[in-house]
C-alpha cells in the first residue's frame, strides 16, 4: 500500500515537474515555426531523459552514492572539475531563465515591469528552500505543477490534425529555414534533458533513503512520469502549431504565450498559462538551485541535505543562497527571459556529452552497481542521442547567431 502511494506520488511529481520555461518556450517555438514537424525532437529528448532519470535513480538506490559524489571518487578531482564547471555555468543560465519566467508571469499578471519582480521571486524561492524540507518541495510544488495539464486539455480541445502529428513523430528535413530548424530541434532536446534534472533526482533518491527494492518502482516512475511529461510538451507544440503556425508568427516574446490557451478557454485560458508558467518556473528554480548546491556540497564532502536545518549545514544553505542571488541578477538587469532560455537550452544540448559520458561510465561500473549495471540499449540510446544533440548544437548555434 505504501509502495503504491509512493509510486503514484513519484509519477505525479515527475509529470507536475516536467514543464518549465525551457520546455514551454522551445516547444512553442517549434510548433509556431514548423507546425507538427518537430514533434520528433520532443520524443527524442523525452526518451533520453527517461533513460537518464531511471539510471540516476538506480545508481543512487544500489550504490547509495549520488552522481557528483561518485564522479569525484572515481575520476579524481581534476577530471571531476570539468563537468562540474560546465554544468554549473549552463545550469546557472537556465536558473536565470526560470527566475525570468516566474517574473514574466508576474509581469503578465500585473503589468508591472519585469525587473521589479527579480528580488521578490528570488526571495520567495529562497525562503521556501530555507524553511522547508525536501519532500515538501518535491511534492508540494509538483502537485501545483499539475495545473500544466491544462495544456493537454487545451490541445485535445483544439482538434489537432492527428495524422499530421503522427507524421511529425518521424524526423524529417525542413522545407524552410534549415539552420533555424535544427537550432530549434536542439533547443527542444536540451530543454528535455537538462542535466540538473537527473542530478537532482539522484540526490532525491538518497534523501529519501532508497535501496535496491526501489529499482522496479524507479523504472515505472521514470518511464511513465517522463512520458506523460513529454506528452505535455507535445501538447504545447500542438497548441503553438494551431495558434501561431498558420499565420507564420514566430514566438519571440513571452507576452505571446497566453494566446496558447486563450484561443480555447478565452480569458481563463490566458490565466491558466500565466499560472502554469509561474508555478512551473518556481518549481524548476527550486530544483536547479538545490541541484547546484548538491553538486558543490557532494563534490567537496560537506554536510548536505534539504531536510537538515540551515544551522546544521551552513555551507550548503549559504551555497544555494548565493546561487539564487547570482541567477537573479539576470532578471534584475533586464535580460529577456525568452532569449536567455534559448541560449541556455542550446548550450545545454551542446554540453550534454560532457555530463552524460562520465555518468554512463559510472553506470557501467560493477563496483558501484554490481549486477545492476546498464544494459546495451540504455547505453546506446543515451550515448547516441546526446552526441547527436551536441553535434547538431555545435553546428546550428553559430548559424543561428549569424542568421539573427
Amino acid at each position: 500500500m505504501k509502495r503504491a502511494f509512493e509510486l503514484t506520488l513519484g509519477i505525479v511529481t515527475s509529470v507536475g515537474g516536467f514543464l518549465e520555461i525551457g520546455s514551454i518556450t522551445t516547444a512553442a517555438q517549434a510548433g509556431a515555426g514548423y507546425g507538427y514537424q518537430l514533434a520528433w525532437s520532443v520524443v527524442l529528448g523525452t526518451l533520453c531523459v527517461a533513460f537518464l532519470v531511471e539510471m540516476s535513480g538506480r545508481f543512487a538506490a544500489v550504490s547509495k552514492h549520488t552522481i557528483p559524489d561518485a564522479m569525484r571518487e572515481r575520476f579524481g578531482v581534476n577530471f571531476f572539475a570539468v563537468p562540474l564547471i560546465v554544468m554549473f555555468l549552463v545550469s546557472l543560465l537556465t536558473l536565470g531563465a526560470e527566475l525570468g519566467g516566474a517574473a514574466a508571469a508576474l509581469n503578465l499578471a500585473t503589468g508591472r515591469a519585469l525587473p521589479i519582480w527579480a528580488i521578490p521571486v528570488a526571495f520567495t524561492a529562497w525562503l521556501v528552500l530555507w524553511r522547508s524540507t525536501f519532500s515538501f518541495i518535491e511534492n508540494g510544488v509538483s502537485f501545483l505543477g499539475l495545473v500544466t495539464i491544462a495544456f493537454a486539455v487545451g490541445a485535445v480541445k483544439s482538434h489537432p490534425h492527428y495524422g499530421e502529428l503522427a507524421r511529425g513523430l518521424v524526423p524529417s528535413l525542413p522545407h524552410t529555414r534549415p539552420s533555424h530548424y535544427w537550432f530549434v530541434a536542439v533547443s527542444v532536446i536540451g530543454a528535455s534533458i537538462s542535466p540538473y534534472l537527473y542530478y537532482f533526482y539522484s540526490s532525491g533518491a538518497i534523501e529519501e533513503k532508497w535501496d535496491e527494492s526501489y529499482i522496479a518502482m524507479n523504472r515505472v516512475i521514470a518511464g511513465l512520469g517522463m512520458s506523460f511529461g513529454g506528452f505535455l510538451s507535445v501538447a504545447v507544440l500542438v497548441l503553438a502549431a494551431i495558434v501561431f503556425h498558420p499565420s507564420g508568427t514566430d514566438v519571440q516574446h513571452y507576452q505571446q504565450l497566453p494566446q496558447l490557451l486563450s484561443h480555447v478557454f478565452h480569458t481563463p485560458g490566458a490565466w491558466l498559462v500565466i499560472g502554469s508558467l509561474f508555478i512551473a518556473c518556481i518549481g524548476a528554480t527550486l530544483e536547479i538551485t538545490l541541484a547546484l548546491a548538491y553538486l558543490i556540497a557532494q563534490g567537496l564532502g560537506w554536510n548536505w541535505g534539504e531536510d537538515l536545518k540551515p544551522h546544521a549545514d551552513a555551507r550548503f544553505s549559504l551555497a544555494y543562497t548565493l546561487i539564487i542571488a547570482v541567477a537573479a541578477l539576470f532578471v534584475l538587469f533586464g535580460v529577456d527571459p525568452l532569449q536567455l532560455t534559448q541560449i541556455a537550452m542550446a548550450l545545454t544540448s551542446a554540453s550534454l556529452p560532457i555530463g552524460v559520458l562520465p555518468f554512463l561510465i559510472l553506470m557501467n561500473d560493477r563496483d558501484y552497481l554490481g549486477e545492476h549495471t546498464n544494459g546495451r540499449i540504455g547505453n546506446a540510446v543515451v550515448m547516441s542521442i546526446s552526441v547527436m544533440a551536441a553535434v547538431l548544437a555545435v553546428v546550428s548555434i553559430p548559424l543561428e547567431l549569424v542568421g539573427s
Binding site: 571518487e73 564532502g301 560537506w302 549545514d313 549559504l318
Partner: protein, 118 residues
C-alpha cells in the same frame, strides 16, 4: 587496498557520522630500505587547489595564513585515526572542532544565526 582507487578523493565521515570532507591528498613517508609508509591524509582547500595549480595554492595559503594565524598549512589526519568502513572512510574523532568544520562553524555563527527564522 589501492591508494588512488580506494582512498584519494573518498568521502570522510567523523565518529558522529557527519560528513567531514574528502581526502584531498595523501602523504607518504619515505624510509631507507623500507617501503613508503602511508602517513597522513590531508583535508584542506590548499591541498585541493594545489592539484590544479601549485602557484595558486601557495598564494591562497599565504592569504589564509595572514588572516587566520597558523591556518596556512593543510590539515593533516594521521593514517592511524582513519578506518575503512563500508564504502567510505571513518575518522575516530569529532570533526566539528577541527579545521574541517572551521568554515561551517564560522558561517553558522556569523551568518546563519543572524538570519531570522533559521
Amino acid at each position: 587496498m589501492h591508494l588512488i582507487g580506494n582512498i584519494l578523493d573518498e568521502q570522510l565521515q567523523d565518529n558522529g557520522e557527519r560528513n567531514a570532507g574528502r581526502v584531498d591528498g595523501i602523504v607518504l613517508e619515505l624510509r631507507d630500505g623500507r617501503p613508503p609508509r602511508v602517513a597522513y591524509v590531508e583535508v584542506s582547500p590548499i591541498t585541493l587547489l594545489s592539484r590544479f595549480s601549485r602557484r595558486f595554492a601557495r598564494w591562497y595559503a599565504r592569504r589564509i595564513d595572514r588572516k587566520l594565524d597558523g591556518r596556512g598549512v593543510p590539515f593533516r589526519i594521521p593514517w592511524s585515526r582513519i578506518e575503512r568502513r563500508g564504502p567510505g572512510l571513518r575518522l575516530d574523532f569529532d570533526a566539528t572542532s577541527t579545521p574541517i568544520y572551521a568554515l561551517e562553524n564560522w558561517l553558522r555563527q556569523h551568518i546563519v544565526r543572524r538570519v531570522p527564522g533559521a
